[in-house]
């Protein structure tokens, strides 16, 4: 995979890119990756988020509820218009399942996905596609030229969403 040709968005980071740069996340598990794109301005943003919400950390990129507004603000600053943005979600897997009765909260990946949907809906950003959940590690690459979002896994072919 052309990992070296793209800017890697690490855990708890969010970035904005214009062509010819591309953005990518590699080896995503329970984290949720939120890809935003303005097709007219050809500006893309990608957040690689660990947690649904986090009141105590000053690190905006760690949680969905703080990272999504911050990413939108960064996109607007780069010239994107919020009303033109649409979202795609990748990740939110449950990599490990323990046998037997499950107690406590739902798996982190599921909570990340649910919170991402709710936060985007609340902010009026349409979610056009998802490749989320399951026990599946994922990698993804977002190209601001046309908004192409490629997703692949260890044992699955590449797919475009």
């Amino acid at each position: 995979m052309p990992e070296e040709a793209v800017v890697q968005v690490g855990m708890a980071e969010f970035m904005v890119a214009v062509p010819p740069a591309k953005l990518g996340c590699f080896g995503v598990g329970s984290c949720i990756c939120i890809a935003l794109y303005d097709p007219l301005a050809k500006i893309a943003g990608l957040a690689h988020v660990m947690l649904p919400s986090d009141q105590t950390s000053a690190d905006l990129g760690r949680s969905v509820t703080s990272a999504v507004p911050a990413l939108i603000a960064a996109l607007e600053q780069a010239g994107a218009k919020k009303e033109r943005l649409f979202a795609r979600l990748v990740g939110g897997a449950t990599m490990f399942t323990f046998a037997g009765k499950q107690e406590g909260p739902a798996p982190l990946g599921e909570r990340n996905t649910i919170t991402a949907r709710a936060t985007l809906t609340e902010l009026g950003v349409e979610i056009r596609a998802e490749d989320c959940g399951g026990a599946l590690g994922r990698s993804l690459e977002l190209d601001p030229v046309d908004g192409t979002l490629a997703v692949w896994s260890a044992f699955q072919y590449i797919r475009w969403i």
Binding site: F98, A99, G100, K101
Partner: protein
């Protein structure tokens, strides 16, 4: 005819290993279970001479299962077979009614010796 043994371990791999060792020595594996709940059900149904029981299992662990088995049959013979060799756990298993304790990984000779001893008790 060898003694009848019930194997309880959540790992299929471990049941397979134990089965090979025990049937090779002439014992009969009368049943298998994957957790403590199944151990109790199968014990009632099969009335084995000995239960070889793992400790950390889903649904119900080995120590709770021994406690229940001894309530059902005070003469139940259970041999614990677990990777958890911590002193306090071994003591607890014996206190609730297990006859002996084999720590994984084991040598076949060690298992056979412990099984023979537990069957004599």
């Amino acid at each position: 005819m060898g003694a009848r043994i019930l194997l309880v371990d959540d790992a299929q791999f471990m049941r397979m290993m134990l089965k090979n060792i025990l049937t090779g020595a002439g014992y009969e594996i009368c049943g298998e279970g994957e957790n403590g709940v199944q151990a109790i059900e199968k014990y009632k149904e099969l009335k084995p001479d000995l239960v070889v029981m793992d400790m950390i299992m889903p649904e119900m662990g080995g120590i709770d299962a021994v406690r229940e088995l001894v309530k059902i049959d005070p003469n139940a013979r259970v041999l614990m077979c677990s990777a958890m060799g911590q002193q306090a756990l071994v003591v607890e298993a014996i206190q609730v009614g297990a006859k002996d304790f084999v720590v994984k990984p084991f040598q076949p000779a060690g298992v056979l010796e412990a099984v023979a001893k537990a069957l004599q008790s």
